[in-house]
């Protein structure tokens, strides 16, 4: 059984303070936009209202910082150590997808992504690779051939093909 730690009030307070800081930055940027005449009728009016309210509510939540009640395994606890490791791995895979997509194209990038995800979920290598290649080609067929959309073919493969 993977152990999970409870999320404390202090941690909620920090998260809320970070969000409030973003709100303050947003409000500061809003002050640089024209407010208009009558007041509020230009591009800066509504953002100013939103920003000020965001900061006010943010400050309230930061000061009060309600501790989340542990409802289920989704709310109120931090991910277990093993889960945190998986999250970092998924984040890295997502980053890699963005970087590799223009180079390797949709099929190869999706194949690599799904294989890595399947391995992470405990699939044997061969099954992971077989399922991933079938699905990658199926998705390409669905989006490109059925829905007639354009997806990256990959600079690397284009270079190989066209020299």
């Amino acid at each position: 059984m993977e152990q999970s730690r409870r999320i404390t009030r202090g941690q909620v307070r920090i998260a809320s303070a970070i969000l409030t800081l973003f709100g303050a930055l947003y409000t500061w940027q809003a002050t640089r936009l024209p407010i208009g005449d009558p007041v509020g009728s230009e591009a800066g009016g509504t953002p100013m209202v939103i920003g000020v309210l965001w900061v006010l509510f943010g400050l309230y939540v930061t000061l009060r910082a309600p501790a989340p009640a542990v409802q289920d395994d989704e709310v109120g606890t931090w991910p277990s150590r093993a889960m945190a490791g998986r999250l970092v791995a998924v984040a890295a895979l997502c980053g890699a997808y963005i970087v590799l997509l223009p180079w390797l194209g949709t099929i190869a990038t999706s194949f690599l992504f799904m294989t890595a995800m399947a391995r992470m979920c405990g699939a044997p290598w061969l099954r992971a690779m077989a399922a991933s290649i079938v699905l990658a080609v199926a998705f390409w067929t669905l989006f490109v051939n059925v829905l007639d959309l354009s997806l990256p073919t990959g600079a690397f493969f284009n270079a190989l093909r066209w020299g």
Partner: protein, 505 residues
């Protein structure tokens, strides 16, 4: 155009081969996604929405509505077979539906739910067809101040009813509204908050944000364990026919549930959850001979709530179609899809694009028929879907989401938004921040800003316009009630004036 001819024109649209196909595919894919534990209706809709946006507006909306229905139906299936509610409206079904299934009557429970959902959907669609023209006529007297006040009322109501901390919900709503202002100003055409970057000038599209916050963060949750999905017992077709006694007990509950669901859906609030609990309470109250059976597999205990849940799904569309204001996150996504498709919901929609409105209504009917005639025979397939290894499904759903988002604008920025929202949503939800207000803020933000700026132009900056116009004044008063009511209730409760009277299921 009278009601019958309007409905007939709707069926002409809905019965186009591509629209029938869209309704069927939507219902099937929605059910498949709804069946998978961990992905709720919102997650299913968010993941599949990008695909629907590449179709013609009517076809795309029909498919999305099919996904909505299908995902709800799929949620009931797992509620009965696995005691896992696919979404909040199926929570009540897990009580008696699961217990009924444990007696070896899972097939009959699924059949009763499917027929009940069909009847409820039909009742609700008929009600919607009758209500909509009246409400749309009334909505024609709405102008910018009314829409502004209505947007605020919709937002306040949703925050009050999502069940989380109201202040945190308010904060998330404002974050969503702020995100909506980034990029090109829809009213003036200038850019805002872009810091000179082209990516931020593109703004935050609803699809990657909603998909990240709901779809991706739920997928990350699925990775919590490597156990895979729970296994369900097989259901044979021949076991699906309820006995005469079961039918006799089910149908009055279905009729009552349909009525309750339809009227609850018209009100702002968590219609799905409220209507199912209300239906359960009514059935338990009315049951004399079988009251002791409740909680142990009473037919009425799941037939009524399931019908109510389905009726709500349709009637909740009334405020969206007639006023352009969503009261629940599910319909907020539908509204977002309409806007992305270039359709502005609101009082003029019925006159400007009757093909969309009546086509959608007619297609709902077709979707209901599709769910009935396709999903019951396919129940074995849904059970088998739970046996597909988790390692295949998780990666595949991730990739469909990524490609779907990328194809919207061929923009890497949208993928960055998708992943960022996925991880941010995952952690914020754990901390008790509700994501529904954020998505609603993103949808309502532009409506609120446009109507507020128009109002200020109209009044020369005089805010008293909100209280001098009768409809607007009523809406502002309702906003005040939405703000003050919980404070008053808690004060009265603290003084011991009331005791909690919510019926325990």
């Amino acid at each position: 155009m009278d009601l019958l001819s309007a409905m007939a024109s709707g069926f002409v649209v809905a019965l186009q081969p591509e629209n029938i196909l869209a309704a069927l595919v939507g219902a099937l894919v929605g059910t498949a996604t709804g069946v998978l534990p961990g992905l709720g209706v919102l997650g299913a809709m968010a993941i599949l929405m990008p695909i629907t946006l590449h179709l013609a507006p009517v076809t795309g909306i029909i498919m999305l509505a099919g996904i909505y229905y299908g995902a709800m139906y799929g949620g009931s299936t797992t509620a009965i077979l696995l005691k896992i509610p696919g979404e909040s409206g199926s929570i009540v079904t897990t009580i008696d539906g699961y217990e009924f299934a444990r007696r070896g009557r899972a097939g009959a429970a699924l059949m009763i739910c499917a027929v009940g959902s069909f009847i409820a959907g039909t009742v609700s669609i008929l009600g919607l067809s009758l209500f909509l023209p009246f409400l749309s006529d009334a909505a024609l007297s709405f102008s910018s101040p009314e829409f502004c006040a209505l947007a605020v009322l919709g937002a306040l109501t949703l925050i009050r009813i999502t069940g989380g901390d109201a202040m945190m919900g308010m904060m998330m709503l404002l974050v969503g509204m702020a995100l909506a202002t980034i990029g090109v100003d829809a009213v003036g055409g200038s850019t805002r908050f872009t810091f000179g970057t082209e990516s931020l000038a593109l703004g935050f599209d609803l699809v990657p944000v909603a998909l990240g916050l709901y779809g991706m963060s739920e997928l990350l949750q699925v990775l919590q364990t490597r156990k895979g999905f729970p296994k369900a017992e097989s259901v044979r077709i021949r076991d699906m026919v309820p006995t005469r006694a079961e039918w006799r007990r089910a149908w009055p509950a279905i009729v009552r549930g349909s009525g309750i669901g339809f009227f609850v859906g018209l009100l702002p609030g968590p219609g799905s959850l409220t209507s199912t609990f209300a239906s359960y309470a009514v059935e338990k109250g009315l049951a004399r001979a079988h009251r002791r059976e409740f909680g142990k597999g009473a037919v009425e205990g799941f037939a009524g709530p399931e019908a109510a849940n389905n009726a709500v799904a349709t009637s909740a569309l009334v405020p969206v179609i007639s006023l352009g204001i969503p009261f629940t996150p599910n319909v907020a996504l539908l509204l977002g899809a309409l806007i992305v498709q270039g359709i502005q919901p609101g009082p003029l929609l019925l006159t400007q694009r009757p093909d969309i409105v009546w086509g959608l209504l007619a297609s709902m009917y077709i979707g209901n028929v599709a769910l009935l005639v396709l999903n019951l025979p396919l129940v074995g397939l849904w059970v088998r879907l739970l046996r597909v290894p988790q390692y295949i499904l998780v990666g595949a759903i991730f990739v469909v989401s990524i490609i779907g988002v990328y194809t919207l604008r061929s923009s890497m920025w949208d993928l960055v938004v998708l992943f960022s929202c996925g991880f941010a949503g995952f952690f914020l939800r754990r901390m008790g921040f509700d994501m529904a207000p954020l998505v609603l803020g993103l949808v309502l933000g532009p409506i609120f800003e446009k109507s507020l700026r128009e109002t200020l132009f109209l009044s020369g900056g005089d805010l008293s316009i909100f209280v001098t116009r009768p409809i607007s004044a009523v809406l502002v008063a309702l906003c005040a009630v939405a703000l003050a009511a919980p404070v008053v209730f808690s004060w009265v409760k603290r003084r011991g004036g009331w005791t909690k009277t919510v019926p325990a299921p």
